[in-house]
């Protein structure tokens, strides 16, 4: 029942936001997101105790992995809504279009992302993923500059292209299920029918879904839209896009892994490994050349999606690390983009070369960027480091030295590149750019609130969360 409510709340808020004033819309959004967070916690708790939840007569269902993603979407949604309240008016004072529909689009976007982990029928999951693109198109184009429009165009076209390819893949999977004897077309049903699915059809379906949804998740070499879209959108939207939208797309790909494992063969693992390593490597390399700090964080998203793929590809022992990585990345990445948004508000430019010595200009923004850069690039003792360490340990433990070694190399390169850029921004002589104003209170509040999990989860993982991660990892494993 709470699953249906999770979907109804943002829908209702979206409808209301069309008719009320801007401030009320902002308030409603925050309240609605808070309700969604509460419901998501409730759902996660029930999932942990009961194994899985169903809702709305079987059209909705949630298992531990879905609950994890749901929680992340809800939490980041709340934080970003809070950040938007202060961010948007300040950006408009600097020039830009006033668009009354921001919050209704925001809620639609949130709704579509919430729908992905809890819809039962796989075809409906596809629709939810396609809707995430369509709902966020105008959010990405919000700033209305030619660059923002170019980014929005590439975003919509390339992700829709991926979605259509994935559609054919899903049709293939449906066909495979029909040929294998039928059953409900859900993730659980697919996994149960796995031994009977004819291999050529299953493989074609998998590859099409991998390429299609991989485009949406930002895996290389289909990631070209990602740095553009995730840097030109307003900061709270970037947080949503990078933090959780790519995660929901990746979720759809990850769900196929147990099916292929059960169907037999190690081919699936190799595909995941290769795509993951290519993404991580490409991102690490591009991070050296990047010139815009929001693009830097966007490339970091590509890197982390790659790391999750590698973790899946390394096999069962690394799956806990994969789940942990998903959690850590979503929280840390959204925080990074809030920090970047704060810097944009203070300094007004997105170029790394123009920003120096931020710590003298605005301590809050500088501290946020520093913390964000450290966490997301994998510095100890933060959560991302812990998850990457767990993955590498699992990789070495299963004697996959090449993969683990390459992964370690790429992570180190990315760390060095990002820290160099962050260092340039935060420290050094204060540059010619003057501070515009202090940060709005809601932005600071959002920063602080989202910093808490980032700081804490590295050293202390609450037992409930630990159990959820373990259950999610089990859901990813090959054993039914």
């Amino acid at each position: 029942m709470e699953l249906a409510a999770i979907l109804l709340a943002p829908a209702a808020v979206a409808a209301c936001c069309l008719v009320v004033s801007r401030r009320t819309a902002a308030m409603l959004t925050v309240i609605g997101s808070a309700v969604v967070v509460f419901l998501a916690l409730l759902a996660a708790d029930r999932v942990l105790s009961e194994g899985s939840r169903a809702g709305l007569g079987g059209w909705l269902s949630c298992d531990p992995l879905g609950a994890l993603v749901l929680l992340l979407v809800a939490f980041v949604g709340l934080m970003a809504a809070l950040f938007s309240i202060g961010y948007l008016p300040r950006r408009h004072a600097a020039g830009g279009r006033v668009n009354g529909n921001y919050f209704s689009l925001y809620n639609l976007f949130l709704l579509s992302m919430l729908a992905v982990p809890i819809l039962a029928n796989i075809a409906l999951v596809w629709i939810a993923v396609a809707l995430t693109t369509l709902a966020s198109a105008f959010l990405v184009a919000y700033e209305d500059t030619p660059e923002a429009l170019e980014a929005a165009w590439k975003y919509v076209v390339l992700t829709t292209l991926g979605a259509v390819v994935a559609l054919l893949g899903i049709v293939f999977l449906y066909w495979a299920m029909k040929l294998g004897g039928g059953g409900p077309f859900t993730w659980a049903g697919l996994r149960a029918a796995a031994p009977h699915l004819p291999p050529p059809v299953l493989w074609m379906g998998f590859l099409l879904v991998l390429v299609g949804f991989g485009t949406k998740a930002g895996l290389a070499p289909m990631h070209t839209w990602l740095p553009d879209a995730h840097s030109q959108a307003p900061a709270p939207i970037c947080a949503l896009l990078s933090g959780v939208e790519t995660t929901t797309a990746l979720y759809a790909v990850l769900r196929l892994f147990p099916v292929l494992e059960t169907a037999g063969g190690v081919g699936a693992r190799n595909w995941f490994l290769v795509f993951g390593l290519v993404s991580t490597g490409a991102a690490a390399l591009l991070l050296v050349y990047v010139r815009d700090y929001k693009r830097m964080f966007a490339f970091s998203t590509v890197e982390h999606m790659g790391i999750v793929m590698v973790a899946i590809g390394l096999g069962d022992p690394a799956h806990f690390g994969a789940a942990y990585q998903i959690l850590a990345h979503a929280l840390a990445k959204s925080f990074c983009f809030f920090a970047a948004g704060a810097v944009v508000l203070v300094v007004g430019t997105q170029e790394i070369a123009s920003v120096r010595g931020l710590i003298r200009v605005s301590p809050i923004a500088a501290a946020a960027v520093l913390l964000g850069g450290l966490t997301i690039s994998g510095a100890p003792p933060f959560a991302v480091f812990m998850s990457e360490f767990a993955i590498l340990k699992a990789g070495l433990g299963t004697a996959q030295y090449v993969a683990a070694g390459l992964l370690a190399l790429f992570v180190v390169v990315a760390f060095c590149a990002m820290m160099q850029h962050v260092n340039h921004i935060v420290f050094g002589q204060a540059g010619p750019v003057q501070a515009v104003a202090s940060l709005p209170a809601t932005c600071v509040a959002a920063l602080v609130l989202s910093a808490i999990p980032v700081l804490v989860l590295g050293v202390y993982l609450p037992s409930g969360l630990h159990r959820l991660l373990a259950a999610a990892a089990a859901a990813l494993g090959g054993a039914p």
């Binding site: 029928n121 075809a123 409906l124 596809w126 629709i127 396609a130 369509l134 198109a137 105008f138 184009a141 209305d144 500059t145 030619p146 660059e147 429009l149 170019e150 980014a151 929005a152 165009w153 919509v156 076209v157 829709t160 292209l161 259509v164 390819v165 559609l167 054919l168 049709v171 293939f172 449906y174 066909w175 029909k178 040929l179 077309f185 004819p198 050529p200 059809v201 074609m204 740095p227 553009d228 840097s231 030109q232 591009l286 050349y289 990047v290 010139r291």
Partner: protein
């Protein structure tokens, strides 16, 4: 088991398949935006015809409903939405140049069709169901050709039509291999087309207002250098 399918149904479906492929090539190569849209509408009607033929052949009213929905969303709603959102851009545009010139484009498109046939061959050989061989091959070829159109065209409307042609291809394959997808899924997937058209149309209009043209392939400000 199923009774043997009337041969004229198989013939009609085969003819629809051949013309569908032709329409996909035309979408790659046409210069005028309007004729591109008309070829797309023609392609959608051929998809509906194939769905009807298969529906009659397999005695599934479900596919008949799919055909009706296809006609409504793709042949009626989509051009209407396009006219409403990008009217000026549509009626005045000719695409003078593509990334590759048209004869080369067509040759690459022919190679992609061959590739699609080659990929699908082991699957169709295994399946041996009545309509699958034509629909799956032509559908996958349509998918590849649509993706190629998006890659090689510079105009906004052409790229949109490439995307929708891809979806037509995916559907063309789907009507033969998954004729009984849950109805709600069919309905929502079909309505994805008008929604995509609306979003992309409005975005195109904004781009035209802001940038002054709709050659989106030439927008290349966001780079590392």
């Amino acid at each position: 088991m199923t009774d043997p399918i009337a041969s004229y149904i198989l013939h009609l479906n085969a003819m629809a398949g051949g013309l569908f492929l032709l329409a996909a090539f035309a979408i790659v190569a046409t210069r005028q935006m309007l004729s591109c849209v008309r070829w797309f509408v023609g392609q959608s009607l051929l998809l509906a015809a194939s769905a009807t033929a298969i529906g009659i052949g397999l005695h599934s009213w479900h596919l008949g409903a799919v055909a009706v929905i296809t006609v409504f969303t793709k042949a009626i709603a989509m051009p209407w939405l396009l006219r409403r959102t990008v009217r000026r851009e549509l009626y005045r545009r000719r695409e003078i140049s593509q990334v590759l010139n048209i004869p080369t484009s067509l040759l690459v498109a022919a190679a992609l069709t061959l590739l699609a046939y080659a990929i699908v061959y082991p699957v169709t050989a295994m399946a041996a169901a009545p309509f699958v061989d034509i629909n799956l091959s032509v559908g996958l070829a349509g998918l590849f050709l649509g993706a190629y159109t998006v890659a090689v065209r510079r105009e906004a409307v052409s790229q949109l039509l490439g995307l929708l042609a891809m979806e037509n291809g995916a559907f063309f394959a789907a009507v033969s291999i998954a004729p009984d997808l849950p109805f709600i899924a069919e309905l929502t997937v079909a309505f994805d087309v008008p929604v995509t058209t609306l979003v992309i149309g409005l975005l195109t209009r904004r781009i035209h207002e802001r940038v002054g043209g709709t050659s989106v392939g030439l927008l290349a400000a966001l780079r590392e250098r």
